[in-house]
Amino acid sequence: MRTVIAIIAGAMVAALLNFALSSQDYVNLIWVVGLALVIADLELAGIVFLVLAGFLFDVMVLGNVGVTSVSGVIGAGVYILAKGSGVTDRAWQKVLWVLVALMVCFGADAVLETLLSERYLGIDLTGYWIRSVAVNAVLVGIVYSVIQGYSRRVGGSTSVKL
């Protein structure tokens, strides 16, 4: 029950903060936190968080509900696939696959947005994506470190008790 409440509360806070951060370029806090949870072996929490926070965020921006969720889940899916294949054991591999997962998130988002609203048609967003992926990857690292630190302090194990 505590975990469910924590995920709902976290999703609401992240969606609100992401809404506030929408005037600042590059950051997508929902994907950042969702991916960090997946990396920290909290896959279920990460997936539920991505769906819930994405839904709340899309409702706030009044547009294309479900797009942020689906894009985040696809990105997380790529990381989970890599993790299940055993290619994320080393630190540099983790970083590499976080970058790939974030690129997939932005790519899926662009495809879905284009299908739904022609938002990206005719626009070259390569530079924007590169900067966004870099900024968000750093944030994933920070959030992941916080989760790991909290895990060690509270549980003394690698898993986090939310």
Partner: protein, 265 residues
């Protein structure tokens, strides 16, 4: 390879994806609209203040970082201000003459539009300023197609109106197509957004555009004479029969709290 891990999380991902796709389909069917209204009614105040806080922190940090250049800019602004004061004096004199002429000709000003003051709740994401959300909706008489202004500046057009909130498509949106005219040279064109900024396109080769010219609206569907921006750069392509110009809108949405929806004009 860990088949159990992949199987367990694969099922979770599939459920999550299906949920997301269902949400997208529900949105497409319009079933989410009541949720939009309710959600925005609840979170609007929180979203507004969190947005203002982020912008405030950014402004504070930016001010500290730019403090060196601010002094020289301030000195330049003092000079510019004195020039503008002199110009204002001349305009007042012209205004007085216009009033006299208007009263002599029996012509009344007709700019008594019905306006609705609206608060900006948030800007669009992804770094491309395409939409803003305002805190007035169909309950306040706002409807799709209404024009949003700030003073005489055109901000955008209502594209989606919910009960208590609305989505405004900005002039800088790449899909906006606004007929405009150069106030000085009377050159006509179309304004839309692009990644490089707001651009006035389809201006005939033989028409003249000058840097600093004021561009105003020129169509039937929206009030005419609204300022869209000033020309900052003219781009002429020798092989093309048209030319274009980049515009400075003269305002930053992040610094604006309120705008006005034109309900009737």
């Amino acid at each position: 390879m860990d088949p159990d891990y992949l199987k367990t999380n694969g099922i979770r991902l599939a459920v999550a994806l299906m949920t997301g796709i269902l949400l997208i389909l529900s949105d497409g069917m319009g079933w989410i609209d009541p949720v939009y209204s309710a959600g925005n009614y609840i979170v609007a105040p929180i979203a507004y203040w969190s947005n203002r806080t982020v912008v405030g922190v950014e402004n504070a940090v930016g001010t500290v970082l730019q403090i060196g250049t601010l002094r020289s800019e301030n000195a330049e602004l003092v000079v510019e201000n004195s020039k503008l004061r002199a110009e204002l004096g001349r305009f007042r004199e012209t205004e007085r003459e216009n009033d006299i002429l208007r009263s002599q000709l029996g012509i009344e000003l007709t700019k008594d539009w019905k306006l609705k003051r609206s608060r900006i709740l948030g800007l669009d994401t992804y770094g491309i300023a395409e939409h803003v959300i305002i805190d007035t909706g169909s309950d306040d008489g706002v409807s799709v197609g209404d024009v949003v202004i700030l003073g005489d500046l055109l901000i955008g057009e209502i594209r989606e109106a919910y009960a208590s909130t609305s989505k405004v498509r900005l002039v800088s949106n790449q899909n906006s197509n606004i007929f405009v005219i150069d106030q000085n040279t009377r050159a006509k064109g179309l304004v839309r957004g692009s990644l490089e900024g707001v651009v006035m396109e389809d201006v005939l080769e033989n028409e003249q555009l000058n840097v600093g010219d004021v561009i105003i609206t020129w169509e039937d569907d929206i009030p005419g004479g609204l300022v869209v921006g000033t020309v900052s750069e003219v781009v002429e392509v020798p092989t093309s029969s048209t030319k274009k110009a980049f515009l400075e809108t003269g305002f930053s949405l992040e610094d604006i709290d309120y705008v006005f929806v034109v309900l009737e004009f």
